[in-house]
Symmetry: C2
Subunit: 484 residues, 2 copies
Amino acid sequence: MSLTIKLHVVPHIIPHTAIRRAPVAAVTNVKLLVGKPIYGANELLPFLYRRTTRSRNMKGAVLPAIKSSLIDPDGGALVDLVVPEGERAGKVSEAEGLPKVKLTKVDVEWVHVVSEGWASPLRGFMREDEYLQSLHFNSLRMEDGKVVNMSLPIVLAIDDGTKESIGSAKDVALLGPDGDVIAILRSIEIYKHNKEERIARTWGTTAPGLPYVEESITQAGNWLIGGDLEVLKTIKYNDGLDHYRLSPKELRKEFDKRGADAVFAFQLRNPVHNGHALLMNDTRRRLLDMGYKNPILLLHPLGGFVKADDVPLDVRMEQHSKVLEDKVLDPETTIVAIFPSPMHYAGPTEVQWHAKARINAGANFYIVGRDPAGMGHPVEKRDLYDPDHGKKVLSMAPGLEKLNILPFRVAAYDTVAKKMAFFDPSRAQDFLFISGTKMRTFAKTGENPPDGFMCPGGWKVLVKYYESLQTEDTKQQKPAAVSA
Amino acid sequence: MSLTIKLHVVPHIIPHTAIRRAPVAAVTNVKLLVGKPIYGANELLPFLYRRTTRSRNMKGAVLPAIKSSLIDPDGGALVDLVVPEGERAGKVSEAEGLPKVKLTKVDVEWVHVVSEGWASPLRGFMREDEYLQSLHFNSLRMEDGKVVNMSLPIVLAIDDGTKESIGSAKDVALLGPDGDVIAILRSIEIYKHNKEERIARTWGTTAPGLPYVEESITQAGNWLIGGDLEVLKTIKYNDGLDHYRLSPKELRKEFDKRGADAVFAFQLRNPVHNGHALLMNDTRRRLLDMGYKNPILLLHPLGGFVKADDVPLDVRMEQHSKVLEDKVLDPETTIVAIFPSPMHYAGPTEVQWHAKARINAGANFYIVGRDPAGMGHPVEKRDLYDPDHGKKVLSMAPGLEKLNILPFRVAAYDTVAKKMAFFDPSRAQDFLFISGTKMRTFAKTGENPPDGFMCPGGWKVLVKYYESLQTEDTKQQKPAAVSA
């Protein structure tokens, strides 16, 4: 039988005081029966267990009204760039007189992300100093000398014509794709957009076919414009999912309301199956063992740009809500919300962003698995990133010292126990790895996945989605043109 | 007249407490008459002036016997990996029984560099944790949490056959290109050499034609081997220049002997002309103005691998010695020595290495100019790096906070004053920029450069070299094959 393999893994917490040397040669030789390398017990060793420490507040920073039990946001205070209601009308009429910059859909997602403080202490699109630090060091040094993580350049590209129209203006108005004024960018700085260098340093490749690059960089302008954002009203998508889009401030409030003394975040962009659930429930149990009284899970699907073959957000959200309805995850100790960032598929570089943003939302534990934010190499037949590098890089990243990194232990479908379970290398033949491709095949053929793979309610959502894809496929099957 | 332009610049020290925003748009519009963008007065603003602070010693680190007036080496103590005489015989015979790894010429240069502590606190070729930190963060976190700069991966590549021959051995012997045992590498770790990712993250491009990549990466093996170095004897090149190869320890001793209270380093890989001299003499004057009593210049040409069209080391050293003989630089306050590192031509990434290594040699001031460690894009008709990025990145680099960065002010040949002088934009037409290409043309045609461009002794050395090149060229002019 030929299977596409997907690894599902379970967190494992290891006390550690220094960066250990991993016996990598040993690990890379461990292979599943079906031929793909997986993690052995050895691979769990090199990670740091970090104690939760409080970052001291920035000199002069105003602290938001959060309970002291939650981790401090980066920079000490949560950034909130939405203009207060009372000032709005004045700013809107000011914006009308400013040079205009039209945003793409992805640009708006970044405005949303920055305005709510996910990227705290960043207060707008990056100026060149910030861009260079992000690109070269994956971090920003603040005025007080402290370092915060910032691995992805959050930048706004403009073309030559727009640059010319801005001239020597100090501020510009940002327009949404529909032409509505969304924000003002203050004290702007325009600098060169060296796309090749940005791509190479962010993705570690310049191969054609990187989804975010094709969506947002290749066709973008040759200049970047940085500045401080003032967002004229909260970004809404009106897609029936806005109630899931909790800001870091709202999440912190919710964690406080539930009396959380630990928050563990799980980033995903796929349907939740029982392997994920095993992992999350096991994490909670471990946190209770560690002495926490009420660990809360932040189940945090990414809601911005994803590549065409990922399951769409609305389907994922419906599937996630079934998982909670079916009590596979405990609704009392789980918060499901949307993380509004677009996806880069930049592996070890991006996973830092995913973790850092969750600190700002109040999470002090972050679950990281195999090949986070990774994908296949767009040109070569291999993973773009070493599947181990994501969590290694995350465990050593500047500015993330206060975050507890929880690396996964492998889980898969145990065909004997008929449920998702920790992978046991001594009886590897009993385990089945079920990928998205495999799920799609099941749905296509009307076959059910093995009992215990996913709760029935969640599976039904996926079947409906995959069926709709088939219908789409059929619709699109037009007579093929005869090639010359 | 068509001229290739080379910028010569003079340091300028600006007090500053935070990262300023550069008015880049203004700067990029400043152009020389001959059409290439250069620096205006504005471009001097964004740099940090850093006060010399002492890094505290690592807990438990043994301090070398250096005078307290010199800056501490990274990690608090200078690494010295050369095995003491008395232990040598034993180690050599041990090495004979170990698996062997054959080094290239460039690998030996790295052994040299690491063994003398230029890369302190690094004690060998990087293991994967160090490699990943260098690649992603341009820095290494030490066990005590402190961060040191380390922007270039210092790694050793091996091929599949060598990996197999090593098997599960813990230590290997490193052989020079002639087969002599040079060092033992202890507690090794072997991990994948993802060349594409290494190149992309180090150079910000994967374009073919990068000199170091072609010399040392493309043909190298698919594995990297890290470990702790024990070097069996001091590396010598027997090229008549070894007396110039002072180790960081020897340099520190020399600075102490001369009673230096400030050391300013000048990295170069080109002949010294009077523009450089102006710059260096002016820097000394400024340091005296700042209150230093005896600033010493470290004139520090790079001695390792350089690309084929750079002037060879022996010629450069002869030229530099003439410059001191002719008293263009004061021999009393100048030390000329060879920096044994190979050249990456990796611009903003590499300039950090150049600066960091000089901290270890005792320099607390580092002079940085336009496009440091840069070159033309190997494929496109442009500089590979933004000429401003090197000093910007250097001024913000983690682990270099204790170093004072001295950005250049532009100098060029003033055709009115008939000497090298600070460039004055108000009479740009009076200034002449003389590049290596231009110098070569002068030498070819037997023409002298303008009076005051370079001391006569130094110029004579170059004429001889360029003449020898012409002879070479003539020799190589064989009848061309008729193409089919």
